[in-house]
Symmetry: D3
Subunit: 132 residues, 6 copies
């Protein structure tokens, strides 16, 4: 099994609902360093898992829709805590849509899975992985 990973980041504000979050129930923020991993059983004829340029652009475009925003004001997240875990799934699912829409090239149809990791600090991170 092969994989390729590209890294980017976004800087957002948000707050959480629920006692479990303690002081993070207040409006605060985070830099999320985002690693998107693409998995594939065999390489294509060029010797790659995916066009890494397109993969990076797809990730950047997805993050740009969230970057420099207060996620509490985004209708798409109404009623949802935008935890690191939830954001990892959101980004992975949007990357999957891009793969299925051939935005990463026709070869990307051979990808078998995706994983997205969001690092919220030097001591905490979360991941979500899914099939394609």
């Amino acid at each position: 099994m092969f994989s390729v990973t590209v890294r980017d980041h976004m800087m957002v504000a948000h707050s959480f609902r629920g006692e479990v979050f303690g002081p993070a129930q207040r409006l605060h923020g985070a830099t999320f360093v985002v690693d998107a991993t693409f998995r594939r059983a065999e390489l294509d004829d060029d010797g790659i898992v995916v066009d890494i340029g397109r993969a990076g652009e797809a990730l950047h475009a997805i993050l740009s829709e969230l970057n420099y925003r207060n996620l509490d004001d985004e209708p798409q997240f109404a009623g949802t805590n935008t935890t690191t875990e939830v954001l990892a799934r959101t980004i992975a699912d949007r990357l999957a849509e891009q793969v299925h829409a051939d935005a990463l090239g026709a070869g990307a149809r051979e990808l078998s899975g995706l994983a997205v990791t969001l690092r919220e600090s030097h001591v905490a991170w979360a991941s979500y992985e899914r099939d394609l």
Copy 2:
């Protein structure tokens, strides 16, 4: 599949028995930077894998019992080489006990697995993963 990871560290002395260890048979020491990963198939109603605050406290408590000690003097490790691999399993198994004792909250019963990675330097690390 989702996961959340928290990082902490401990600083211990120890020595190893066995020719394979070469100069590490002498009493020496290590800083272990410890990453504890909690896995879960679905998020809870708060949108999280586990209460990250409690997870970090559970890890810190386990490391505190080993930190700033000579592991050669700890009865719990009598007759055992406290290799990076063995310590990864020890910490993972103690975290599993804490999960099963509801120390990470009732929601942690839904966790499916744990992984613990100990980084002993910038060029070497070991991991142990297990089901819950």
Copy 3:
């Protein structure tokens, strides 16, 4: 010249005023990984620059007053852009006050300088250094 550095972090929301900030004029957020460096010409009788335990606690206390907050709502920053640079100076100046108030121990009077670095992502950071 000797120095000792301790690392901690904070997660805040804020916005900036001024065209130069582009999309960062919107309410957004950041994780700042904060490195506080203490400088001293000679070591004390214990062989240290500063009591690293107290230094870490002083830094943590200062960050706790800002952590999990929207800095736009903090009266102390009214009329000020809370840029990475400004926050580095704020934290350094508060550490200097703690040093002068002997909160880091009487030995800390021998410190000659401080530097504070805030890493806002894996690709950008800012520092402020000052004498004591």
Copy 4:
């Protein structure tokens, strides 16, 4: 499941054939920071996955055959793009040969799998994993 990882690096020149590579079709180069991971279900009697000294030497020997070279001139890669993915598989397969030849010790016969990750920059990396 246990694993142990060792890190080393190599610095090579190469070029790629195929429009997908854009400017990387020109002769350029890369530092690859290489992480080799050895997996095993149970520890041996010494409490280890593998003799980490021998594992590091085996990895270093394999990288030495590629290091400080123009991979375009290496007959072994004739007709092959030496992408990060391809190099990860090459190194993993050579490590597997070393394991099977007992170069990592007789105990290494119990290893169940290998993974090799090549980091080509702070924002991109690729991995290949295989059974043993």
Copy 5:
């Protein structure tokens, strides 16, 4: 004294002349992770050292002229070993030209100095710093 740093990278081929370089006399390559630091005594009215967006673009433009190239073929480096140290100075001097040409904004005239660090691997790096 304040500073702001931005990080980018480039991937180049080159060879060195001189016995001191050993096997690096052969054509090989490197990924250079490049950190450009801008220093300034006081912040401007916006609370910044420099427009970080423009600073990042200036660095990226300078690296783009070298990226994905064999530096042995670049006339600008004829008769010069493109060591990590030489490249750090080259990039710093080009950034200085951009500052003096107001490419980073009129405010950048207040910058007092620059430093450029090139990381060639996880275990080696070089820096050059100069006044403005």
Copy 6:
């Protein structure tokens, strides 16, 4: 001003005397990731600060005398707390002796200064810098 840095590490046991050290008065241990920086005003005719191969070997030889040892048993440290700061100075002074003995080559006589940083964990490090 130019500088070049090489990284290596050592794993030692030790204990400290003095109430300020709290639990670190017990025998414990540390991995020290060691960065040795060599400074020089101008490059030599090869375009380098120092022969990085020899610099790395000199650092490795110095660390080898301390590595895999209990520093409490080393006569050279009798009556001295082997704090991170003290070890940084010890290593820097030994590197300076090597420079003065031409072990890094005759060109190293032009070096103007040295700095040594010891990282004891992901959240704490110490440095010592001196002239040559």
